[in-house]
Subunit: 453 residues, 2 copies
Amino acid sequence: MNSTSAQDSTAAPSTQGHGCKVALLGFGTVGSSVAKILCEHSVSDIRLTHILNRNVARKKVDWLPSSVQWTENIDDILSSDADIVVEVMGGLQPTEDWIRRVLSSGKSVVTANKQLIARCGPELIILAAQRNQQIHYGASVAGGVPVISGLQSGLAGDELFKICGILNGTCNYILSQMESKGVAFADALREAQKLGFAEADPTEDIDGLDARAKLTILTRVGLHCAVEPETIAVQSISRIEAIDFEYAGQLGCTIRQISWAEISSAGLKTQPQAPQTQAERSSLLAAVGPALVALSSPLARVEGSQNLVVTTGVYGGETVFGGHGAGGHPTAVAVVSDILAIAHSKQAGTSKSAQDLKAPALNTHRVSADYTAKHYLRFFVRDQPGIIACLATILSSCAINIDAVLQKPGCPKTRLPFLITLEECKASLVERALRQVNVLEFMVEPCLHLPIL
Amino acid sequence: MNSTSAQDSTAAPSTQGHGCKVALLGFGTVGSSVAKILCEHSVSDIRLTHILNRNVARKKVDWLPSSVQWTENIDDILSSDADIVVEVMGGLQPTEDWIRRVLSSGKSVVTANKQLIARCGPELIILAAQRNQQIHYGASVAGGVPVISGLQSGLAGDELFKICGILNGTCNYILSQMESKGVAFADALREAQKLGFAEADPTEDIDGLDARAKLTILTRVGLHCAVEPETIAVQSISRIEAIDFEYAGQLGCTIRQISWAEISSAGLKTQPQAPQTQAERSSLLAAVGPALVALSSPLARVEGSQNLVVTTGVYGGETVFGGHGAGGHPTAVAVVSDILAIAHSKQAGTSKSAQDLKAPALNTHRVSADYTAKHYLRFFVRDQPGIIACLATILSSCAINIDAVLQKPGCPKTRLPFLITLEECKASLVERALRQVNVLEFMVEPCLHLPIL
């Protein structure tokens, strides 16, 4: 295996320099994978010099060079000669303070921290620029799937107006287990916890808060919208039951936790539709929650803990990015790619990354979850005559058209499930009707309302 | 819609400069789409200043600013103050000479020319670097699918060892039409030509030369292998018949034109397998041609003229990129993204792109098409007793194990089709056996031999 000189001349600066020194905050699953890649893969002139973790004695490994300095004290990192500090500790505090201090001390930052970037990414980007440093966060969304860099570079020439994806591997694992094995939500969750696909406290994943942070970041980077995570509506997947997969199957669909954001007043359409005037583009539809997706759609075929992002642009149409959304090694690939991007722009003699320069100013939009779509309404009722007539009257009075009614035979009369699908209309219209429906005396529990994408 | 100042400070240089001037060589489908995006989308401080085309009078359009200068003479471009020259004329000559002269005159180049980059990309990259310029070619592979930039940035931190994909929309359109409509190859080709999905002379597409050029480029960028297009084996899709889709369907497969490259001595495996030692990695398996892919695979679900690329890395596993592989607008998105990358690195004050710096030196490998896989052998024979026994004897004498024999009933005895599938073995072993088989007197035509991926 011989090395040709095909590109040696362009690579010159990387061999002249003293190399780029990297400090690692956090030596858990992702941190140790980052260290492993930097050591094994011997990436051009990048050197791991410091590792910070609690209880360092317990963490030390024998496969790292003895030159690596271990510490429990952030001041050791701040006063070191590290050029890039990689934050893979997670959490909001002390992480945010530490990242601010790292940037202020004239070092660049690579982080995988989605909650932190979702909450204060724009501020940290400004702080970094003020100090002639960079902050990269490619690993904060979809782990090893290179969607952030894809939005920042490969699709920079397009005008994206929609991003839709499966951004949480835990929910996808649970829902795809429920689909394939017909098990109940609680059983699928327990199984996921046993296998390490779900946390002991699964709230962040199940209730959509994890995916919401990722969608916030994608919306800023891809749609150039200034959005705060709290303004994005979330719906938990915890109310999905095995019967919902039966009904979804009868509609040629399955159920997935979908995160979507779209600049449009036209609402959520199956057919991508380019916005036509500035006025029409004044609102941002954004939501995270369970939705019906056609079995023929790429979203329905995402298995286990995989992630998938579909972007839609005015010029390029739909583009798909898929891969491992979590796990030490895939996430570490994204971290190391960011380290390389910063190292090479430092070697090229600029403190600005092309990504910083490229990023257009963010636009402010009204955030809404009032999508227009077909709707899936699943009821549990105490059976009695006249239920359908009663529901049909309420829906009709709200100017909502019923598309189909499905009732699985052989179910208990005290908790009888049935399904109504609605023709395309606004979600707010349906919610208004459901406020009347949910108080009816035959309703065993509130209606489950999902969009059909 | 208000603009926040979230990233204004980082974007400062792009508003200081006089902007980046772009000249366009070629005003066909892609060229006019590039001009359209640059005008409509008003990308940050990029200005289209020159357009070169034959017979300019016939080409002029009214939607471009009157300041744009039209010319038929390359010297006008060379002597202009354009910073970036976009080449979307296609062809090898005079294109190559012109690009060399453009780079030598101190301008950077963006090209969508896959044949040119496949043949002399490394040389042009060196020439660009010598002149402190850049050459970008993101549009040369898979149109609007951002796979080149994905390999160069988002996956830079991984060590990729396999790239597999559908890189030719014409073949994919023809094969998916044959699959869904059961039509003959010639009919599907005629239909594709009528709809503009295939050229009048479809050889480049059908015989795999187009996909081979793209695979050459992906292999260099993603696997860092110095490879010449001529060393990659190609097989035409023209011998695929409707009956092959019937047989493939019985095996749970369909047929697609697949391009793949893999660093390994272990051969073509369905299961990704990381190479383990340098010795094992000394050969590059690379081929373009029709192959059986499982219906459950993402490759089987690529519709019409879409493209899909699946990369496999030691650390990140499989990553998927999909989207519109051709067409004016999607290809133009890739071109404009490249223009932006160069413009921003010029604004950042560096002549080196991060991509140039990042690119590791290329390694030289022995190129082989001797993959290890299951095999699909389709025969047309004049029916007579003892054919299967005869074939089984030859295969057995070559130490090849038969997996299954399938024969569709009710076919003409003078051109009787049947199928033998083989257990996993080397392609060269099968080819050796087929040299004995193809001369047997009952063979109506040579056996069609495809890998089962």
